[in-house]
């Protein structure tokens, strides 16, 4: 083949390639445009999820506060009742003692002794101890519920972190789209309001003590090193 014929063949191939590429590029542009349109909605939805979970968590914490307060009041009332009962019992026993001294009839004395026996051995203390133990255990359970709600803060950090990544992708896609359509490089669009918030995207909700143990070791080593320096 002559060089001229060779060039013509190459040109034909290039033209054919361009014919195939142009619709493909148009399809890519359309896809980017469509995806980019949805991104602000996605970040907005994530933001709404964050707000809703925080609001719900605060409502739960409010309820826990109310329940804890009511439980404390109930516990105080029971304690007052217990004290009053103990005082009454002491008074009854004292009066029975006085009465016993004044009586001579054996059947009446037996009756008094029976009543004394009832009041002396009646184990209300065990009942109240159990009741207080239930109160304390319930309080601990309320605290455990409150502590478990730390999951909201931790997952929120992950959500905000993902939102920030989506924002960055959006900015780059929007810039690429602009360059595609206008052939000039456009500066990146402004960051979403959440993007400047520093979050820990690696935040973990775990009950494993491993991370705390590692922190404790470092703190201890640091403190020992400081002591040696002094």
């Amino acid at each position: 083949m002559e060089p001229q014929q060779n060039n013509e063949a190459i040109m034909k191939d290039v033209l054919q390639l361009l014919k195939e590429i142009v619709p493909l590029l148009e399809s890519v542009r359309h896809s980017i445009q469509e995806s980019t349109k949805h991104i602000p909605n996605a970040t907005e939805q994530l933001s709404k999820v964050s707000e809703a979970t925080e609001s719900a968590t605060v409502e739960i914490l409010d309820l826990i506060d109310v329940l804890s307060e009511q439980l404390t009041k109930l516990q105080e009332r029971v304690r007052t009742f217990q004290q009053s009962l103990q005082s009454s019992r002491a008074l009854v026993l004292e009066n029975l003692g006085t009465l016993r001294k004044a009586l001579t009839d054996s059947s009446q004395l037996h009756c008094i002794e029976s009543i004394e026996h009832y009041f002396t051995n009646q184990s209300l203390d065990a009942f109240f101890d159990e009741l207080h133990s239930i109160f304390e255990s319930t309080k601990m359970q309320y605290t455990s519920i409150a502590m478990a709600l730390q999951v909201q803060d931790i997952t929120n950090q992950q959500i905000v972190g993902v939102s920030q990544i989506i924002d960055i992708v959006y900015r780059h896609l929007a810039s690429a789209l602009h360059r595609f359509e206008h052939g000039v490089h456009e500066s990146l669009p402004p960051l979403d309001e959440h993007t400047d918030v520093v979050v820990d995207i690696n935040a973990q909700y775990t009950k494993s003590p491993k991370r705390q143990m590692t922190a404790d070791e470092i703190v201890q080593q640091w403190q020992e090193m400081q002591k040696r320096k002094q």
């Binding site: 309080k139 409150a146 502590m147 709600l149 730390q150 931790i154 820990d200 470092i218």
Partner: protein, 127 residues
């Protein structure tokens, strides 16, 4: 001397949880702030002798707040407990360099919080 805590966290949930835990432990005197700048304002106006702070916060983070406290003669001895999700070794070292007194990785337990507060009070007392 009564301990007055300043709780600094941008998350309302976390502030409520820390306050709840402190009340369970019998501490009642508590003020709160949502970032480092507000914490400084609260320290200046309402005072506090024990700071519990998060790390990641807008405006001024917990590490910057710690540095400010340590460089301000009026508050330099105030104990600081960092409570954060950041559990990497480098993070803990950076916080210790900034001179926090102790470090808790979230999620925490009331028992863990109690231990750290008591450790600090035993070694440095209140500020």
């Amino acid at each position: 001397m009564e301990i007055k805590f300043l709780i600094v966290d941008d998350s309302l949930t976390m502030r409520r949880i820390v306050i709840n835990a402190l009340k369970t432990l019998g501490y009642e005197s508590i003020v709160e702030a949502s970032d480092g700048k507000e914490a400084i304002m609260k320290l200046m106006t309402e005072g506090a002798n024990f700071v519990i702070t998060d790390w990641n916060m807008p405006e001024m983070n917990g590490l910057e707040l710690t540095r400010w406290i340590r460089s301000t003669p009026q508050f330099e001895n105030v104990p600081i407990l960092m409570v954060t999700t950041r559990g990497n070794k480098d993070d803990v070292i950076e916080a210790m360099k900034a001179r926090v007194n102790n470090y808790i990785v979230k999620p925490f337990t009331p028992q863990g919080l109690k231990e750290k507060i008591e450790q600090i009070l035993k070694t440095v007392g209140v500020g």
